[in-house]
Symmetry: none
């Protein structure tokens, strides 16, 4: 149950927080923990705060980059407290639970939580399909890392016990594209835009961010991805004929 949900912690500073996250997860029946460049791990503080959840800690996998850590995930949610200047599409923890935990799907789903002090950076949120929001006091909105994980995992756990019949965004049998496939598509898109002379180098960053937001929002399936890459390929080769 919930084994397809991967909790991904990015550059956590305090090992105690990693332990507290492991405990919060296990309390809600979850055990898939991924760590991106933790400052100190493993560490006695992590084990101490994990309490009886040291099995989750021991099974945690460490990655050197976020794209690697989410490569096999088809849905990517990034936790964020701050308001962003670009408004990414967002879901609340409860909406996410109702949408993705109720049906017991098998797609890997990444739940990304950023640094204790500064959260996730914009280029990390670019990898996400949705911002994951926890409703809270707008004047004091920064939850402790383990507390944020606790609330999200709690919502997922509660949702597994509730059957929902509504199927949002049904689009047939094709599997969703993985994060790795999406990154390949974005590289291809960027290259094509350069090849056809569309890209103004100074504007490329904001244009790519908009295009990422668009295609992440759409959650491409693999068939759609094939079609789009086909179009890109023909655009690139158009002048060779």
């Amino acid at each position: 149950m919930l084994a397809n949900f991967k909790v991904v912690l990015v550059e956590t500073s305090h090992p105690g927080n990693i332990g507290a996250v492991a405990r919060a997860m296990k309390n809600m029946g979850m055990n898939q923990l991924r760590l991106v460049s933790p400052k100190v791990f493993p560490h006695a503080d992590a084990t101490a705060r994990a309490s009886g959840a040291d099995d989750v800690l021991r099974a945690a996998t460490v990655y050197s980059s976020l794209p690697e850590a989410i490569a096999d995930c088809r849905i990517v949610l990034g936790s964020s407290a701050r308001d962003r200047t670009i408004s990414w599409p967002s879901v609340t923890a409860r909406e996410a639970a109702q949408r993705w935990a109720c049906q017991g799907g098998e797609d890997n789903i990444a739940l990304i939580f950023g640094r204790e002090n500064s959260g996730l950076k914009n280029h990390e949120l670019d990898l996400c399909h949705y911002l994951l929001r926890i409703p809270c006091n707008p004047e004091y909105s920064s939850l402790n890392l383990a507390a944020a994980v606790q609330v999200v995992c709690y919502e997922l756990f509660v949702a597994t016990g509730v059957q929902f019949s509504s199927n949002i965004g049904d689009r047939g049998e094709e599997p969703l594209a993985t994060a790795e496939q999406m990154e390949g598509f974005y590289r291809h898109l960027l290259q094509t835009m350069a090849d056809i002379g569309f890209l103004h180098p100074e504007r490329s960053k904001s244009i790519m961010r908009r295009l990422r937001r668009l295609f992440n929002r759409a959650q491409l399936d693999t068939k759609e991805l094939d079609i789009l890459r086909g179009i890109l390929r023909f655009s690139q080769n158009h002048n060779l004929k």
Copy 2:
């Protein structure tokens, strides 16, 4: 808001946990904290873990007995993870929130949380109208104190109905494309695919259907539409240079 809810901690051992509870409360717009015979308080660990919620700590009141601490409360809920031999009536955190937080009542309501290691004793639960339960993994059900407070306060906050703009797919100020603009885009897309030699006439219908489904699902705004049409235009003219 929620000022009638009193979080009551009984004989907390670690001052750091009291600080973490203060933070968890303030994150959810709550600030009424009562401490029954804390082992050490005040303490630097409490202030450190409270982060920016030291105002909640400073305003906390200390009592020497639980009956004193809840004397002015009309509804008394005692948090419990363990199954008890005597079955008290119980409510889940969500039920409690729906029952007592939605209506913005004025009755004081006590939310009692026990010791880190042993919770509440039976004679303390005797003072409670209901056990307050947090659904969790039955094989690992002991939440960290602050984590339990976090989940309960979160449920109360959500129930007050403070609405957040968690629009799925909301993306700011750009107006969504009109149906007419979308049709113009699809015509342009079809023409471009023909121009660059991508389109197999016999497959065009099913490919266009897939692409329509994709972009309709994404609900393009006008700015995104402009970018996509720019890319199409450059693809078409690519061979002219």
